[in-house]
């Protein structure tokens, strides 16, 4: 009797698995995907650059300043601040801007780069720290997640690392 009941349950389960397999491309995968998409997850700030702090308007384009991204847990990478210049198509050929990163009213860095005419061409830029809080970068492209001047789509992404000595305070 017990064997029979177990067998019935087993075959029922197997049949259900077939139904599940048949439903995967139609509904099931979509349900699971939506579940993950609505689970309140977000990509780590080290990759995305964090949340927006404020926007600085310039003529024809804007500079989006992000919040400081600090390394998590035992990650030893540098803390950094991300800047996004957009839209890249509206930028002048040569950009050189002094930018206040921490919102204290004083410029912290000067970002300089030449915009290549070919959007797919690699680019490099310079970041000159105007105080000891940030690290200067010279002729940098995509060195690391905390040090870069790169083009992504119609944006120029600049990441300025924070001086670690300053970060410890």
């Amino acid at each position: 009797m017990r064997t029979r009941v177990l067998s019935i349950l087993a075959y029922t389960g197997a049949a259900l698995m077939l139904v599940v397999a048949a439903c995967v491309p139609f509904k099931l995968m979509g349900i699971f995907s939506n579940g993950v998409a609505h689970a309140g997850l977000h990509i780590d700030a080290k990759f995305t650059g964090g949340t927006i702090a404020r926007t600085i308007e310039r003529s024809g384009y804007k500079i989006v300043v992000y919040q400081l991204v600090e390394p998590r847990l035992l990650d030893r990478s540098e803390p950094f601040v991300q800047l996004v210049f957009e839209p890249a198509d509206s930028l002048p050929r040569r950009v050189s801007q002094e930018i206040d990163l921490d919102g204290d009213g004083q410029p912290d860095v000067r970002v300089s780069f030449n915009l290549p005419s070919d959007p797919n061409a690699p680019m490099r830029g310079d970041v000159t720290a105007l105080n000891g809080k940030y690290v200067s970068l010279t002729h940098v492209g995509g060195e690391s997640f905390s040090r870069m001047v790169v083009r992504t789509g119609n944006q120029i992404v600049v990441r300025v690392p924070l001086n670690k000595e300053w970060a410890r305070r």
Binding site: L73, L74, K164, E165
Partner: protein, 226 residues
């Protein structure tokens, strides 16, 4: 007034230890877990080993506390010096993991002849003997491993007036973090499966490789970039 100030610092240290305990667990847990799994099974041996580990870790904390207080917190601010220390500690930790947790290279790497089925997957090499030096070495090295909450506590302790206050601060900070290690006493049930012990040894070797690589990277970076 002095007693009030002291108790306030102690409370602050305890809370700091409790709140940063998970970070300590993330930092030290991967070292402790595989090592504990290859120790003899049972609550008493585990308690003894864990006690030795935590005691050595406390010793490491106190050494650091004395150092930061005496140097007036200049040690954390001297980035170059800290990096050399980071690198050296990680290399030592790697060596200690390999020696005490994995049992290489002193023991022969052989598969134990099967006495019964349970022994087949037990170990790489001979059965481990409880070595107090393992607990002490690993405890001390993780104790002076300068993880972020440790540095926060160090900077805070450096601001205290007396050396005894700094040491006491770190004792309470240690107590707060140590609470997070108590569940390691109950690892005995995992040891009943010999395969888990073998996996633990392998994880220890991999972690040793990781710490070794990390330590070498830091030292190379310091050597090249100063």
């Amino acid at each position: 007034m002095a007693a009030l100030s002291l108790s306030a610092s102690a409370a602050e240290a305890l809370v700091l230890g409790l709140t940063t305990g998970p970070v300590c667990l993330a930092s030290c847990g991967p070292v402790v877990l595989p090592w504990m799994l290859v120790q003899p099974q049972g609550v008493r041996p585990h308690s003894r080993q864990l006690f030795l580990f935590l005691a050595a870790r406390l010793a490491g904390y106190l050494v650091f506390a004395a150092a930061v207080w005496l140097l007036g917190a200049s040690l954390p601010r001297t980035w170059t010096g800290r990096s050399w220390l980071f690198g050296a500690i990680e290399l030592l930790l790697a060596a200690a993991l390999v020696f005490y947790a994995a049992g290489w290279p002193l023991r022969r790497c052989t598969v134990a002849k099967p006495v019964d089925r349970a022994d087949r997957l037990v170990q790489i090499g001979d059965a481990p003997h409880p070595r107090p030096t393992g607990a002490l070495a690993l405890g001390f090295l993780t104790g002076i491993n300068l993880c972020p909450p440790f540095l926060v506590a160090g900077l805070r302790a450096a601001q205290l007036t007396h050396l005894s206050a700094a040491l006491l601060f770190f004792v309470f900070f240690f107590a707060g973090t140590a609470i997070w290690f108590l569940p390691f006493l109950s690892l005995g049930f995992l040891q009943r499966t010999p395969a888990i012990v073998t996996v633990a040894r392998m994880v220890a070797v991999l972690l040793a490789c990781w710490y070794g690589f990390s330590g070498v990277s830091i030292l190379i970076e310091r050597t090249v970039y100063g």
